[in-house]
Symmetry: D2
Subunit: 133 residues, 4 copies
């Protein structure tokens, strides 16, 4: 299992006229946390793309328990619970202090530059073996 916690301060641009964070913006925060999680185990998504791979989102889901507000200091947790086989599922939680605001998950798979499904880059597969052994 690998897990990362990323601090996010809510930007004004991320609010809507309901006075809360627009529900679509959590996906960008999930991505920030996911990217950081991979980076922390030595996998740079920037390098992965430079090597000709993409890791698009195949599925995404969110439950909004309580709204996040402008200027809130949040913690976004990303977590890889299981060793990915063909698909990579990542879970997320957004907290303000001890209060859980939002939970979510995304599912990904590697594709090449033309969008065709491919095996993960060897160094990603090795790293996953290493982490989940």
């Amino acid at each position: 299992m690998i897990q990362t916690k990323v601090p996010i301060n809510v930007r004004y641009a991320e609010t809507d006229q309901m006075g809360i964070v627009y529900h679509g913006n959590y996906l960008a925060w999930f991505e920030v946390a996911r990217t950081r999680m991979f980076k922390e185990v030595g996998l740079s998504y920037k390098r992965i793309e430079a090597d000709g791979y993409h890791l698009p989102v195949l599925e995404a889901a969110m439950k909004y328990l309580r709204p996040a507000l402008y200027d809130d200091d949040l913690i976004v947790v990303a977590r890889l619970d299981e060793k990915p086989v063909l698909r990579i599922k990542i879970n997320y939680e957004v907290y303000r202090g001890d209060t859980l605001l939002v939970t979510g998950a995304t599912v990904h798979a590697f594709v090449d530059r033309d969008g065709r499904p491919v095996r993960p880059p060897p160094y990603v597969a090795e790293k996953m073996n290493e982490i989940f052994s």
Copy 2:
């Protein structure tokens, strides 16, 4: 059952460096289609808010089957399949021509200006009774 189809032309701002529509942007399109669907049965979300109600998103989910691209002419379908009781579930499909690109759903409930759960405005409840009778 009520259903609406809304044309969307993909904006450059909606793409990311993978060369496809950023996965978080579909939620804004769902909202465009949802708003239009309510408007077509005589329910203006703008008026609903002016009356002191909000209809926040409690859950959202998406499956990305194929990517949408810059300048694509898409059709976003919103559909209310069942009479809402406490929660309103809306289903979505995004098409390019006959090709289904993305499916999704959102779940909503009415709250007051302070975010407390409330019954729907009477004219919304009446309209739903009318549609689903």
Copy 3:
């Protein structure tokens, strides 16, 4: 001179907690109007990119006279007043009915895929000669 008018209905996602359209979002609308203007004279930005050219924004400026609101039906005007030489300057106006809300301008220049300044594609240069002769 060429000019295009594009209707825009304000999305909820485009508002912020001030209850108005977030000031950064006008740039995406300018781009919608600019793209449409080029398309109407037979120049597809999608094709221009496929041919290996980009037309990045070098400068942008906006004056916000009055706020646009959720669900407003707006008209965004894009206008090319002068024959572009090395740089292309486009002017914009955003109206709600007869009321002018926002004015702006963007300046662009052609670059190749590596971001180096290049002459415009020949068919763009010809079209500009044709329009401004």
Copy 4:
């Protein structure tokens, strides 16, 4: 003169299919830096809004010298060069290391909840007197 430097790591969501940061997104970063600058001198924009004031953007301008890229570690500088009288002008610079990528400015004025121009809140005026004396 007051000045603040804020680190920004470029999010994938902030790129477009040109492979660079979408030009409209700099305005959200300017706002992050502006908010931080005010907070550092003891002025919370959140409190200002809670007190019934807004500080909308009246003008914005940007020059894009070089593109920012995904995962870049940037520094966004916000600077108040002159004591604001009726209008507040803030200047911005975006750097990657020593390389200046983007410059910009925004102009603001205080309005009340109904959007009418008003004098700044007294504690803001006092703070400005203190800083620029």
